[in-house]
Every structure is written in C-alpha cells, then in structure tokens.
Amino acid sequence: MIAEFALALLWLAAALALLQLGLGSYALTVRGAQFLPAVRPVAVAQGVLVAVSFALLIVLFVRSDLSVKLVAANSHSLKPLIYKISGTWGNHEGSMLLWITVMGLAGGLIALLERRLNDRTLIATLAGQAFVSLGFYAFLLFASNPFERLNPAPAEGNGLNPLLQDPGLAFHPPTLYIGYVGLSIAFSFAIGAMVTRDVGPTFARAMRPWVLGAWIFLTLGIVAGSWWAYYTLGWGGWWFWDPVENASLMPWLAATALLHSVSVLATRGALKAWTVMLAVVAFSMSMVGTFLVRSGILTSVHAFAVDPERGSFILALLAIYIGGALALFGLRASTVTEGSRFHLFSREGALVMNNVLLVGILGIVLMGTLYPLVTEAFGTKVSVGPPYFNPVSAIFVFPMLVIMAVGPLMRWRQDNGKKLINLMAAPALALAVALALVVLFAGDIAILPLLGLIFAAGLAVASILPLWKRNLRRTPAHIYGMVLAHLGIAVALAGMAAESAFNTEKLVASEIGQTHTVGPWSIELQGIDPIAGPNWTALEARLVTRYGDSATQTVMNPQSRMFSSPPTATSHAALLTRWNGQLYVVLGEEGDDGRWQLRLWWKPFVPLIWYGGLLIGLGGILALVGRTARDLRRKDQPEYEPVAAPADPKPVGGREALA
C-alpha cells in the first residue's frame, strides 16, 4: 500500500508542477496578473508532496519491503539500518527521486521565504523551476519508477555494493545532489530574471544564498568523495581525474565562478550578462555530470548504477533546458546591460580574471572528460588521465592563485597599487622562505609539487591579509568566510603537493613477527585474526607501529573483508594520523609460502587536503550565514544602486514581449 500511495503522491506532485508552470506563465501576461499570488502555494504544496513521497521510499527501505523491486535489488534484511537508509539513494531511481525532492523543497522554500525580489521575477523563477522539475518528473514516472512492485517478492534482497557500505559514502551522494540541484535553482533564478528583464543587484542578492548553499554542498560532497576514495579503495589515491569525479568538479568550478560574479553583481551592479551566463553554465555542468554518471556511457570506478537507455532521456532533457536557456539568453542578451564599468586593475577586474581562469579550467576538464567519448565514437579508444590534467590545468591554476592572493586586497572600481605592493611583501616573503626550505630539505622533487608547496605558503599568508588592520570584532562574517575559504585552498594545495612530493611506499610479504620500516615508522606484524561483522567476515592484522624513537606504540588493524551478499572481498585500510602526516596500512592476500602481503605508506601532510576542503566549506557556511543575516536586517532598506548605473530597460518592455 505504501508504495502505491507514494507513487500517487508523486503523480500529484508532477501535476502540481505542471500547474505551477502553466499558472506562473499565465500570471506573467498582462491579463493573468490576478493569478500571481496563486503560484506560491502551488510551489509549496508540490514540495511537500514530493518530500512525503521520498520519505515513504525511505520507509520502504527501512522495512525491507522486498515486494518493491527497487528495495529487493538494492537492500538486504541483514544490512545495518544506516545502510538501509542510504540504500534509498544508492541507486538510480532513488537518487532521481532525491533530486526532484530537493528541487521541490527548494522551490517551496523560495516561495515561502523570498520577499525581496520583484514579484513577477519570483513567479517567473518558480515557473522556470517547475519547467525543470517536469522533465525530471517525466523521467522518474516514465523511465525509472522507484515504486515498481515485484511479484512474487523474493525471500531476500540483493544487498548494496559493499564498497558503498561506508559511512562516508552514505552521505556523499546526497550532499553532491543537493549541490547539483541548488544550481538548478540558480538556473531558475537566471531564467526568471531574463524573462522579466530584471537582472540587477536585488536579483543577485536573492540568488546568492542558493548559489552559496549549492557551492557549500558541492565542496563538502567532493571532499567526502575524495576521502572515501582515499581510504576505501585501499591504495591511498585521493583523486583520479576519473570522469565521475570530474562530473562533480565541473559544477563546482562553474559554481565557484558564479559565486564570485554574483557577489560583484550584488555589491557593484556589474557583470550582469556574465552572471546569468554562468548560472546557465553551472546548471548545464550539473546536468552533464548527471548524464555522465547516470547514463553509463563511462567506464569508471563509480559507475554503480548504470543503464544505457536512460542516458538518452537525460541527454534530451539537457538539450531542452540548456538549448532553451541559451536561446533565451541570445534573445535577451542585448537587453541585459553589462552594468557598472570598472578598470581592469580593480577588485572587479581581479574577479573577472579569476572567473575567466576558472572557466578555462572548466574547459580543460570538460574537454579531457568528453574527448575520449568522441574518439571512441570514431573507433579509437584513448585515455586522458593525470599526465594530461595535472600540467594542463596548472597553466590556469597558478595564475589564478596569484590573482586570488591579490584580488581581495584591491579596491573596487580602480586600484592604484601602492598599498598593494606593501601588503604583498609578506606573502612574497613566505613564498621565498618556503622555496628555500623545500630546496634545502626536500631534495629532488618535481616541478608541480614544488610550485604547489611554495604557492600554498604565499597564498596562506595572503589570504589572511584582508583582516590586516581591521577591527576584528566588527569585521562582518562573510569577510571571515572569504578568508577561511581562501586559506582552505592554500591548505588543501599544500596537502596535495606534499602527497605527491613526499610519499613513501613499502610493499612487503611479511611473516608473523617480522618488523618493517616505512619512512620514520617501524611496523611489526604480530598476528592475523578472523573476526565477524554484521554482514561480513574478515581477516584482521595486528600491526604494532612506532614512530621514530618514540616510546609509544600504536596497534593498527587493517582488515580484508568478505561480504556475503553480494559476495565481494574488500580491503579495509587502517589509518594513523599524526600532526605531520598519515600512516596508511593495508592487508593483502596470504601468499603460498604463508607470508602476508602488506602495503604500507607514510604520507606526510596528506590530511591537509581534507582539512583544507573542510575550511573551504566552513568559509562558505560563514559567508552564507553572515550574508543572509545582513540581507535580512537590511530587508526594508531600498536597494543599493551603484554610482551612475546605466538606464535599465523599462519593465514594460518585458511585459510586451511576453504578452
């Protein structure tokens, strides 16, 4: 019964989305204006219905209702509760339902909370949102019904891929999805503002929290995904330039650019067309990402839920939305003025340069990800991996880091550079000291890690400088947010560079009682014990580790696990974190001679990658909270108009064009 009820709710929500689109569009015409107030409640109801439907799917998973095909295919009654819940979105249908749920809830929230934006623009935004949702409703209801029954019901479910049974991965996909969907809201805002020709600071301020929110989720999702890959795949790699990873990186890059340009639009009334364009690009990248992951045209570490038929559906949606948005942009681009002018050597100028460079990186990642598909279509299979992405993206990354260091210290509109030169002495010194240290102590390392280390040092210092000589207590939260996020980039960069420069690896076939050394560590294999978990059995090694001459010994227990359903063997690494790095140990197979394979790594400063990522996310959260509180306080004040803004086209024009 639950499944049928949930499906009915889903159909109803889809019908409401259709109503939201129709009513919203009609309300924007001259005759339909009296329907303007009716659109908000529809959006709220749609959000509630789809959320209940998703909640019911979770209930089905928790109860292990095996008469539902999706549950039978992805769950197992013996699975721990948390993985029953995460199994809801660990598959194609469930994840699509999650997608549409987040979209519906976000639309409802906008309808409930957003009061600053011009009413017509808001309604156009909600209509745009409904238009995007409808495609996904159609996809869900016609091509991937999550509530399909299975008759007869099997006695037991298939279980969830053991690699996915991990706390990190339970929350990685929904985090990314919320980020993807958040960008769809930025997209809807852009559509709404283009329709009513209302691209201005108020629009930017209404859109900014959604862009920030999406960006925070994308950041945390990527950090979690990279951490997951690092410790579950058992080889200590943290980023593979895998197409699925790139699929999450591309929206992040676009969202990062959008985040900065929307701030310029909100505070300075500049970069109007560029911001709208970036909003379209950012959502296109989420769609491309979804297409790559869900269509199954890739062979990839992450390709868990693949179905080639569905790819064409997503591709069609992609073409409709992106093509439509670009056509609208083309029609309206001439009426979207560029806004306030500014000099290249100014904060806006720096932000534009950074935006251009971010889009450059995005272009490289997109090219490298899609190109193998193109050549495959012509019959040649090629691989594009780290040897391409690392150096080529570095061409764009390092100039960007320099601009990131100076940009926040520059004045708006035009900077004379005098103060800047004095301030930049500190980061330049940090860079020089780092260079000296690396050359003296690190010996022979490759050029990219070297650059990474010294730029990280310079950027770390530069990122704190915006707080220089400020009253720290009166500095607004979003400034701290920016400082933290930029510092996070420096910290993560240091971790990445250190990981590729200073790793030591040791592969050994070890007898019980033998001691090995890796880097400063000595590690003794004391024994191998069998143990059992809720749905797996494992062999667990007892390793006693000691750092240098230190007296403290720490026991580490890497496991090699056997899951019963589906039958899969996975290795479960053990990690030991010190302030200066991480010891990473993996238990392999037993050789014919009774010796055990051990893989041991000493990775100096590697946790900085994820600490940096968390700092970036935290910076985003601070900025979001600070900005929102500030915007709410200033709610009643008139919109800040930048100096000598060019005359905006009359709103009447928009009305006529729509009628």
């Binding site: 000099h343 290249l344 391409y388 690896e505 359903s565 039958p567």
Partner: protein, 140 residues
Amino acid sequence: MRGFLLLLVALLAQPVAAQDSLPPAPYAYKQLDDPAKEKSAQDLMMTLRCLTCQSQSIADSDAAMAGDMRHQVRSRIEAGEDPEAIRSWLIERYGDWVSYQPQVTAMTWPLFAAPVILLLFAAFIVRKRFGRAKPTGEKS
C-alpha cells in the same frame, strides 16, 4: 531457511571466484631494490590504465591483470629499459587506451589545442571588456 541457503551458496561461491586470479607475478606486490628504479617504475605505473578495472591505474588496483602489468613494468625497468619505451610497447600491445598520457596524433591534437584556444579566448574576453576602457575611475 531460503535466506540461509542463499548465504551458504554465496559462501561456497567464493573460493571458485578466487580461482580466477592468475598465480601472482613476483613483482606484482614486490618493489625493486633500487629506489631510483622503483620510483621510475612507480611514476610509469601511475600513468597506465588497468584494463580490467574501471578508471584505475595499474598502480592502484588489486586486479590480477594490473598485478601482471606491474610485474611487466618492474621487470623491464629492472632490466634497464626506458619507461617511455615500455609505454610504447604496452600501447602497441593494448592500444592507446592503456596509457593515461594521450599521445599527440591526428585524433588527439584537439586535446592539446584546447588550452591554447582557451587562453586566446580568455585574452579576447579580457581585451574586449577592458581594451577600450580609459583608465579613469569614474565611469558610466
């Protein structure tokens, strides 16, 4: 009862699955004694695709074939072969697919033209945006 039977079948199926793997090649999980040679082997292995895995290099895969390829790479490096010669040998055997480092060919040149085009495009945008702007502060 049926669940128990399924479980039993699953457990019995495991040794059968294990037999698929080839006997381990000596250098699959063993490093070269010379750290310089091991490093160049490692650098090469990081850029070779494990053909039976999904997007993993042979340096980070447990697949039997990746182990064999690691053995090949390490023993050839040990014998003094040049890493790029080993790469060409592998490409000859398995095709371009095996190398994560795309070669410049008639098929792949756009990959290498892309950064140049993007840089030109970026320069064009910046020039268009700022080229005519007179360096005065107040503008409208």
